[in-house]
C-alpha cells in the first residue's frame, strides 16, 4: 500500500535513520534534537526536516490549543546593508519597505518583470540592515536574483548558514518565548521585532508566524540553536509544549488561507490572481514587475485563487481538477484535511468571478465543494485577541 510515492510535501524518510535519497540533504542545527524526539524526517528543499513527531493532527491541535515549536532553520536570511539598501529593497520587493521603522516587519514579495512571483518573503527593518527572510526552496534563486540586480551602495550578506530559526506558536507562546529572551516580549507588537539577547547571545525575535496563532520567531546563531530549543521545551513544559513538524505547519497555514510558494503561488501567477495586491504597492514608485502587475489589474485577472470546503472526507490535493458545469476550469493548489474544522479544505485557481458550488476531481470521483471566504479558520489568537 505504500507503493505510490506521496506528494512533494510528504516524501518518506526513515524514523530517525536516513534513507538513500536523503543522504545528501543538509541538516539543520537542530537535527540531533529531532532524532532524539523520534521525528519522521523527510527531504525538503535540500534539507532533512521533521515532517512529524507524534502525528500531524496532535501537533496541529497543540499549536491551536497551547504552544508548539517549529524548527524552520531551513529558511534563508539575506541582509541588505549600505546607504542604498532601502532604495534597493524598494526596487526588488512589492510592498512599501519605506513604511518600516526599525523593528518593523512586513510580508512582501519579489516578482519578475512580467509580474510572476519569484518568492514571497518577510522584510525586517533591523538597526543596521534590511533582512529578507525567504523560502528555503527559493533561496539560491533569490540570492542570485538579488545579487544580479544590486545597484547603488549596497552590501548583500547571506546569513542563512549561520542563522537558525525557531518558531514558537500558539496561545501560550508568549510566556514560553519570554523565558528565553532578555527583552519583555509582551512589549513587541504584532508584526514587530526586537534585537535582543536570547540566553545571553544576540538574536532577533519577532511576533510573527505562519499558523494564525500568536507567536514568536527567534533568529539566533546556529551554534546556539540547540540550547535555545532545549530552553523553550523546558520553559513550555507546564503548557504541554511539544515540537511540530512540516506536516502541521502545512495544515495550520492552509486553515488560515496563507499561500505556499510552489503550490499556491509561483512564477506563473501574479499578485493580482493570488489576492496579494495588499502587499503590492503600485503607488510607491517603480519596482520590478510593477508595470506588468498594473496592466494585469487594469484588464482584470483571468483566474483567481479561492478557498473551498469539500463535502465528505475525500481530500482534494495539489493538482486535482476543479470542475464547474461539467468542465475542468482550474486546479487545486493546496488541499488537506483540516484538523480544526474536521473537514476537507483547499485552495485553487478558478476563472475570476466563479462563486458558490464547484466540484473537485479527486482521483476520478467528482466531490462537491463550495467556494468560501478565507481564512477557513477564524478563531486563531492572532484574529480573536487583536
Amino acid at each position: 500500500m505504500l507503493r505510490r510515492a506521496p506528494g512533494p510535501s510528504a516524501r518518506h524518510g526513515g524514523r530517525g535513520d536516513v534513507g538513500e535519497k536523503t543522504k545528501t540533504a543538509r541538516r539543520t542545527p537542530l537535527h540531533e534534537a529531532h532524532v532524539e524526539l523520534d521525528a519522521r524526517l523527510v527531504e525538503f528543499a535540500g534539507f532533512l526536516m521533521p515532517m512529524t513527531y507524534d502525528g500531524i493532527v496532535a501537533e496541529h491541535r497543540r499549536v491551536r490549543e497551547s504552544v508548539g515549536l517549529f524548527d524552520v532553520s531551513h529558511m534563508g536570511e539575506i541582509h541588505i546593508r549600505g546607504d542604498g539598501a532601502l532604495d534597493f529593497v524598494e526596487r526588488i520587493t512589492t510592498n512599501r519597505a519605506s513604511a518600516l521603522d526599525v523593528g518593523g516587519v512586513q510580508y512582501s514579495a519579489m516578482c519578475y518583470q512580467d509580474g510572476g512571483f519569484i518568492d514571497d518573503l518577510l522584510v525586517y527593518r533591523l538597526s543596521d540592515s534590511y533582512m529578507l527572510v525567504v523560502n528555503a526552496a527559493n533561496h539560491a534563486k533569490d540570492l542570485e536574483w538579488i545579487r544580479s540586480h544590486a545597484a547603488g551602495d549596497v552590501e548583500i550578506d547571506d546569513a542563512s548558514d549561520r542563522t537558525a530559526l525557531i518558531a514558537v506558536q500558539g496561545p501560550n507562546a508568549g510566556p514560553v518565548a519570554d523565558r528565553v529572551a532578555e527583552d519583555d516580549l509582551g512589549e513587541v507588537g504584532y508584526y514587530r521585532s526586537t534585537e535582543t539577547n536570547v540566553l545571553g547571545s544576540g538574536a532577533v525575535v519577532s511576533r510573527t508566524g505562519y499558523t494564525g496563532e500568536d507567536g514568536f520567531e527567534i533568529y539566533c546563531g546556529t551554534d546556539r540553536a540547540p540550547e535555545v530549543w532545549s530552553a523553550l521545551m523546558e520553559a513550555g513544559h507546564e503548557y504541554g509544549v511539544g515540537p511540530a513538524g512540516l506536516g502541521a505547519r502545512d495544515t495550520l497555514r492552509l486553515e488560515m488561507g496563507y499561500a505556499l510558494y510552489g503550490n499556491d503561488i509561483d512564477e506563473t501567477r501574479t499578485p493580482v490572481e493570488a489576492n496579494l495586491m495588499w502587499i503590492t504597492r503600485l503607488k510607491k514608485g517603480d519596482f520590478i514587475g510593477r508595470d506588468a502587475i498594473a496592466a494585469r489589474r487594469e484588464r482584470g485577472p483571468v483566474a483567481r485563487l479561492v478557498g473551498f470546503e469539500a463535502e465528505g472526507r475525500r481530500i482534494p490535493r495539489h493538482g486535482h481538477g476543479i470542475i464547474v458545469g461539467g468542465e475542468t476550469v482550474g486546479e487545486v493548489t493546496s488541499g488537506t484535511f483540516s484538523p480544526s474544522l474536521e473537514r476537507a479544505i483547499g485552495m485553487g485557481y478558478v476563472p475570476d468571478g466563479t462563486n458558490g458550488g464547484i466540484e473537485i476531481d479527486v482521483r476520478g470521483t467528482a466531490v462537491p465543494a463550495t467556494i468560501v471566504p478565507l481564512p477557513f479558520y477564524r478563531d486563531g489568537t492572532v484574529r480573536s485577541k487583536r
Binding site: 506521496p6 510528504a10 519522521r40 500531524i56 493532527v57 506536516g247 488537506t336 484535511f337
Partner: protein, 123 residues
C-alpha cells in the same frame, strides 16, 4: 488465532478457514500518519491478486491498499466510516479493513511471516 502474513507493500492478511481478513500493517499506518478516510469497496465484488481494494487517506497523503489474494469481498469494516483512526490505533485488530473469501489459497504461499516482514521493513 491464525498468524499474520504480510505483503511487501505492507498489507497484513489473517486467514481463518477460507476467509482472509486484510488490513494495514502497523509499520504502514505509522508511515501514513493520521488516517482520516477509507474508501470502502462494495461487498460481493470479485477481486484478483494485485488489484486495488481501497484508497486510504491520511492528512499528509493518499495510498492504495492492494489485495494479495483473489476472491470475493464478503465483508467490509463499516466502523471505519465513522472512525478511520482505528487503523492507527489498532491496525491488526479493530482497524481491519475487509474480508475476502479465497478462491486460490495457494496465493498465500507468496506472503511473508512476521519475522521476514520485520526484516523487510528494516531493509
Amino acid at each position: 488465532m491464525a498468524k499474520l502474513l504480510f505483503t511487501k507493500s505492507h498489507e497484513w492478511v489473517r486467514v481463518e478457514d477460507d476467509v482472509a481478513t486484510i488490513g494495514v500493517s502497523d509499520y504502514a499506518q505509522s508511515e501514513l500518519g493520521d488516517i482520516v478516510f477509507v474508501e470502502l469497496p462494495d461487498t460481493g465484488k470479485s477481486v484478483s491478486s494485485g488489484d486495488v481494494l481501497t484508497s486510504i487517506e491520511s492528512v499528509k497523503s493518499v495510498s492504495e491498499l492492494y489485495t494479495p489474494v483473489s476472491g470475493e469481498i464478503i465483508e467490509v469494516n463499516t466502523a471505519l466510516d465513522d472512525d478511520p483512526g482505528k487503523i492507527n490505533e489498532d491496525p491488526t485488530g479493530d482497524g481491519w479493513v475487509l474480508r475476502i473469501k479465497l478462491s486460490d489459497p495457494s496465493e498465500l504461499d507468496g506472503l511473508m511471516g512476521p519475522e521476514d516482514y520485520e526484516a523487510h521493513t528494516k531493509g
